[in-house]
Symmetry: C2
Amino acid sequence: MSEKRYLILAEGRSGDPHYGKTARGVIRYGPDPTVAVLDATRAGEEMAGIPVVATVEDALPHGPTTALVGVATQGGRFPPEWRELLKSCIAAGLDVENGLHEFLADDAELSELAAANGVELRDLRRPPADLNVPTGDNLALDARIVLTVGSDCAIGKKTVALELDLEARRRGLQSIFVPTGQTGIAIAGWGIAVDAVVSDFLAGAAERLVVEGHERGGELLFVEGQGSLSHPAYSGVTLGLVHGAAPHAFVLCHRAGSTEIEGYPGHPLPSLPDLVELHERIALPLRPARVACLALNTAHLGEAEARAAIAAASEETGLSADDPVRFGAGPLLDAVLQTLEAKAPAQAADH
Amino acid sequence: MSEKRYLILAEGRSGDPHYGKTARGVIRYGPDPTVAVLDATRAGEEMAGIPVVATVEDALPHGPTTALVGVATQGGRFPPEWRELLKSCIAAGLDVENGLHEFLADDAELSELAAANGVELRDLRRPPADLNVPTGDNLALDARIVLTVGSDCAIGKKTVALELDLEARRRGLQSIFVPTGQTGIAIAGWGIAVDAVVSDFLAGAAERLVVEGHERGGELLFVEGQGSLSHPAYSGVTLGLVHGAAPHAFVLCHRAGSTEIEGYPGHPLPSLPDLVELHERIALPLRPARVACLALNTAHLGEAEARAAIAAASEETGLSADDPVRFGAGPLLDAVLQTLEAKAPAQAADH
């Protein structure tokens, strides 16, 4: 049994679905319990039943062993005011896990403090040192690979992969969730943050992840997607992941009603049919892949509106659609398995 | 006037158009003279009029000041036998410029030796430390941006950008070549190797390059392309560059007659019309971009075959086509300028 108990650091962000997504993912899907969330702006409240505290001192009575940096920041840098917070955690004897692009273990002051206090600094996004380009093992693997993709960032690609994997395992399938980002790594305990690798090795890192997923016993791999092919900042990560993971099928995620890239005003989202066709078209010709179904994020809608949005998306694309978090992942898993069983069509048929 | 004189290290690769492309690019387009090429397998021969020598000792009478690692390797690592060669260069008092992913300055032994001999180790692919995601400056820039793209790697995207820039400057235009890879950096003396940046910052690095190109006086920017949208290893780099550089027009490069990705047997190239449409479709909706023309690499063909291949490519796509290295860059520059002058059409028209 794991002895790890998290204090999640989410200062100013615990209520934010985008920048607080690491906190939410770990609380919901992680194997290790979270005993407190630190966010002085909401101290005294609860987050998913977990007490929100103002300071590390206030968290200690709850018995944490490990502080997890539970926020994302644009560019992945630490806000300067976080240094004092991290020092408090280390001084209090907590290990620190960090998913930002700035690595704690490379910081001389924090490293010395950690050594003096006998705690570990773990940088979840630090890539392996020996990455390279793909070898072709991705195409030779005896496993069925499913990649979640989407119209934008932070709309549920990781969550959908996790829910589909859970449902598949409930049915007795040899399924595994393949983590490609810091939160997925915190949840699964392995993985590579593909957005942190040298660009030339993006596809190679993705290939290594599906190979490892298979070695870990996965016959059915649900790979966590990243970014979006139409995202002005992160599209490169997405395409490298598409070509390196070499999926047999995509699950297309979309936040119901969104029409613009979040945080990039004026950048429109392509229509769902356009996104379906673009993904199928850009898959490797040696590994044609179909979009199996649509996963709609309807968390911001009432139930009737959610049902209507799902029906409309299905109508617009001719594909199964559902919100697997809200209504269960069964119907989408059915669609995925059906797509995997069907012989993948020659890609040329789409042109 | 520059005092730099290159010895290009191309051991075993000076005759290889792919892995020897750094050597060829610097000899042809660099402002600093190359006085010798080191390749024991071809010692005594000449490369573009420059003597090929077997050892560093043999090169010294030619008066080099700087050894340039003039090869590419898969994965960008140093073959182990190169360590002795690099040590000989340093011991002989030569600075060393290196474009591989492995950084010489991070190697303790080589760094110490360099310090002891008073020479510099310059890693051309080392990214700036302060990269981030794009800010939107790429879309606000008062410049016309042209990106070379292609059906594969190592087919002439850099060379075409250099030739178009030279021709534009000959005509008195305020044009600049924007380097995005190690050879381009060696030639131009500035730039970022986008394939060496952390994937999340790919588009941000590309944006920074076009901003710098404009600051350096460019009203017309010819951006060196990387990889290919359909390349199984490097497509992520390509798409990040497309979205970060935000070109107004593409020049599509292709090696006449190629049908497969080099080094990836069985991976077919899309047809030229498919590549044209894919690039136009994947451009940012806020910056619709047309493929202005096709640059065909016909170096391996006789002249009549080359002319026929150019005519066929033009016929197949309805676009101007030429081999700008062989027959001059004038006609393709005309096509580029015409495309830039035409009002960019709404991207939706392609769907």
